[in-house]
């Protein structure tokens, strides 16, 4: 009788063994972070310095210069007066409702983590597109990164680096980088075989093929990936604020714990406004840089 308990109860591991495993992993990681935490932190110092510098730049500059610069960028990217006006209006409203400083901090974080995602993601995507082996290794990792709840990987990051901007950025990048990797890979793989063959047939080497043919032709897809990455980075703002990233996320967090409905709503809307601005401007830019595709669509 005693032998058949596994029929009614799951034959789970001995409690003691489980504890042992936990202890082993936890202490191992704690040991690791105690030994290498400083080195790893030092490794990220340049990133931190850049982030701080950029945030200060955004915070210290007079608000109207920022708006002017943002408006110029929006216009250059989209060549649309309507879109530019919308962007200016969004920033004016954010400032008028007293969320200027937090919005600037969030913009700093988003800009830096997006740049980091592109700088890491595009090369990884390129590597992936060149080899089926790499693709079969990276794809499951990306799946885990996208489905693993953010809180789970926040734990080791915080253990390693403590609370602050850098762990925040890392968390945001982990969450936001998969689309740009996936879509870079996809875009390059979708490049017409014959066009690539033509480049090879005229003597182009690997580098010339990559920069002259594959990347330009994959650009619409890569841009879609970058756009997704920006959106996901913005979505991470609130969670990142839990580990000390200042910005629009913190007031939202505060209003959850204290039930300040209006404060939460306003800051939430500010995040939405930023998202819309980033999205529209980057999409307008992507569309404008692909002028040659217009003829194709109309055919």
């Amino acid at each position: 009788m005693a032998d058949s308990t596994w029929l009614t109860e799951f034959p789970s591991m001995d409690r003691a063994d489980l504890v042992a495993i936990r202890k082993f992993l936890d202490s191992g990681f704690r040991e690791f972070s105690r030994n290498y935490g400083d080195a790893i932190e030092a490794f990220f110092d340049p990133l931190l310095a850049f982030l701080v510098w950029f945030e200060q730049l955004l915070l210290q500059s007079p608000w109207w210069i920022i708006i002017l610069v943002v408006a110029c960028l929006a216009y250059l990217a989209s060549r649309s007066a309507k879109l530019t006006l919308g962007v200016v209006a969004a920033f004016l409203l954010i400032g008028y409702f007293g969320m200027w400083d937090n919005a600037m901090r969030t913009m700093g974080i988003i800009a830096v983590s997006t740049l980091l995602s592109i700088a890491l993601g595009v090369p990884i995507g390129i590597l992936m597109s060149g080899s089926n082996r790499v693709q079969s290794i990276v794809t499951p990792i990306l799946d885990v990164m996208q489905t693993m709840p953010a809180f789970v990987y926040l734990i080791p990051v915080v253990m390693l680096l403590g609370i602050g901007k850098v762990p925040g950025i890392i968390a945001v990048v982990i969450y936001a980088i998969p689309p740009v990797i996936r879509l870079t890979n996809l875009g390059i793989r979708l490049v017409d075989r014959e066009v690539l063959e033509a480049a090879t047939a005229y003597g182009a080497n690997r580098r010339q093929r990559l920069f002259g043919v594959q990347l330009p032709l994959a650009m619409p897809t890569i841009m879609a990936g970058i756009n997704q990455t920006i959106m996901m980075a913005l979505a991470m703002v609130v969670i990142a604020s839990m580990i000390g990233v200042k910005g629009l996320g913190q007031p939202v967090l505060k209003s959850i714990t204290n039930q300040y409905f209006t404060m939460g709503l306003f800051n939430g809307l500010a995040i939405v406004a930023l998202a819309i601005v980033f999205d529209r401007v980057s999409q307008a830019y992507a569309k404008r840089s692909q002028k040659h595709l217009e003829g194709m669509n109309s055919e």
């Binding site: 017409d192 014959e194 066009v195 063959e197 033509a198 480049a199 090879t200 047939a201 005229y202 003597g203 182009a204 080497n205 010339q208 002259g212 043919v213 330009p216 032709l217 650009m219 692909q290 002028k291 040659h292 595709l293 003829g295 194709m296 055919e299």
Partner: protein, 424 residues
């Protein structure tokens, strides 16, 4: 050892995970279908031996999937062979290092693609200049050259357009200009004109022929259209399931197909457009060289026919008939043979396509004299031999041709309608 410009020796290409492992099966003669079913490997090419002479157009043809694209991609090593050698100008392409291979592709060989292979994100001018840009030639210089070639192919004014803004024919012209722009002496054309409609296609063929007269490139041209092959090719090779079935001059292929596969190919061809007068003409009937009517009549009576071609110091003059000579002799048998007794029959050139001489041949009462560009009478073209060549071709007409005697004017009327039907 032969000194042909391009030589392909014992070329095999097998697609699949482990080509070397199945090589013994292929050598043992296993068929393409069996090999695919049993091992999952596809025979791309099997034992290809070819020679292409410098400055010629070499056409490769065959049905879809027979390995034409696979073969042409070996010349510039877009595909590496499983076994075999490709010598170009004496150099083994397989021995080239990556750098040398890139240089070789830059300067010696260029390619026109079936679906054009143009870069959609570059303008027409940038596309044409692509090969030169790869060679790192300065922008001004390469654009200048590209502009010239665009003008040559008739696309002046389209420099700033993108490929998607051009029609198919125009895009292929861009592809052609791009290939010519690098001054490579070998041109690979993979079904370059197959995607174009018939009218534009024949226009492009004309342009290629015209260009080739000036440029004398060595061209490997792939097509599945025999009319096109016959029109362009100096030599034609026919592939079937990766194997070379027949290689030869266009008339050879048309008149002596090696097997049923080739025969099926040539059955539907428009022979009138493919064969020249030379290939179907027969030895000329009698010649008359006498100056007087009486002399002419004497020569005429010594021939079996009741007509003969009159030739004097200035060459072929016209046709004399027994009937007319006899009438003239009754008047004055010592008179000189002159235009009054001559029947004027326009001569045709041995190089003319049958199509171009069809109306004259059918209109004339006697076989047309074939006169070469030196003014020599070298043969005659009767309605019967024309009709026979157009209707059946193959071995039959070859023996009839050698038979010599021409019964053209006897049953001429009967075959005229048959020839008319072929002409459509």
């Amino acid at each position: 050892m032969s000194d042909a410009f391009i030589q392909v020796k014992g070329l095999y290409k097998i697609f699949g995970d482990d080509p070397d492992a199945v090589m013994p099966l292929v050598l043992a003669g296993k068929s393409k279908q069996d090999l695919l079913a049993e091992t999952g490997h596809t025979i791309g090419l099997k034992e290809i031996d070819l020679e292409v002479e410098r400055g010629r157009i070499f056409v490769v043809m065959g049905l879809s999937g027979c390995g034409k694209s696979t073969l042409i991609r070996h010349f510039n090593r877009l595909i590496d062979p499983t076994r075999g050698q490709i010598l170009i100008d004496g150099d083994d392409v397989m021995q080239l290092s990556q750098k040398e291979l890139e240089q070789f592709r830059c300067h010696r060989i260029s390619m026109v693609f079936q679906r054009f292979g143009l870069m959609p994100h570059r303008t027409v001018l940038e596309n044409v200049a692509f090969g030169l840009a790869v060679q790192k030639m300065g922008r001004a210089e390469r654009n200048e050259k590209a502009r010239q070639w665009l003008e040559t192919v008739g696309l002046k004014g389209y420099e700033a357009q993108y490929p998607a803004q051009l029609s198919g024919g125009q895009q292929q012209r861009v592809g052609l200009a791009r290939a010519l722009c690098t001054d490579a002496d070998i041109l690979l054309m993979d079904e370059a004109f197959s995607a174009l409609d018939p009218l534009i296609r024949s226009e492009m063929q004309d342009q290629l022929i015209e260009l080739q007269e000036k440029l004398h490139k060595t061209i490997i041209f792939i097509t599945h259209d025999l009319d096109e092959a016959l029109r362009l090719g100096d030599r034609i090779a026919i592939l079937k399931d990766g194997e070379l079935i027949q290689e030869g001059a266009p008339e050879d292929i048309l008149l002596n197909p090696a097997d049923d596969y080739v025969e099926a190919f040539v059955r539907d061809v428009n022979r009138a457009r493919a064969l020249t007068v030379e290939t179907v003409m027969r030895p000329p009937a009698g010649r008359i060289t006498a100056v007087t009517i009486a002399g002419a009549l004497r020569q005429m009576r010594s021939h079996s026919d009741d007509y003969a071609y009159f030739i004097n110091n200035e060459g072929y003059q016209g046709v004399l008939t027994q009937e007319r000579l006899e009438a003239a002799a009754r008047d004055d048998s010592d008179a000189v043979v002159c235009e009054r007794v001559l029947e004027i029959l326009p001569p045709v050139s041995p190089d003319a396509l049958l199509e171009t001489v069809l109306p004259e041949t059918l209109d004339a009462d006697y076989p047309l004299p074939v006169v070469d560009d030196k003014g020599e009478l070298c043969g005659q073209l009767s309605r019967a031999s024309l009709a026979q060549a157009l209707v059946e071709g193959g071995g039959g007409s070859e023996t009839a041709q050698r038979g010599g005697d021409d019964s053209g004017s006897v049953n001429g009327k009967a075959v005229v309608s048959a020839a008319g039907a072929v002409q459509r």
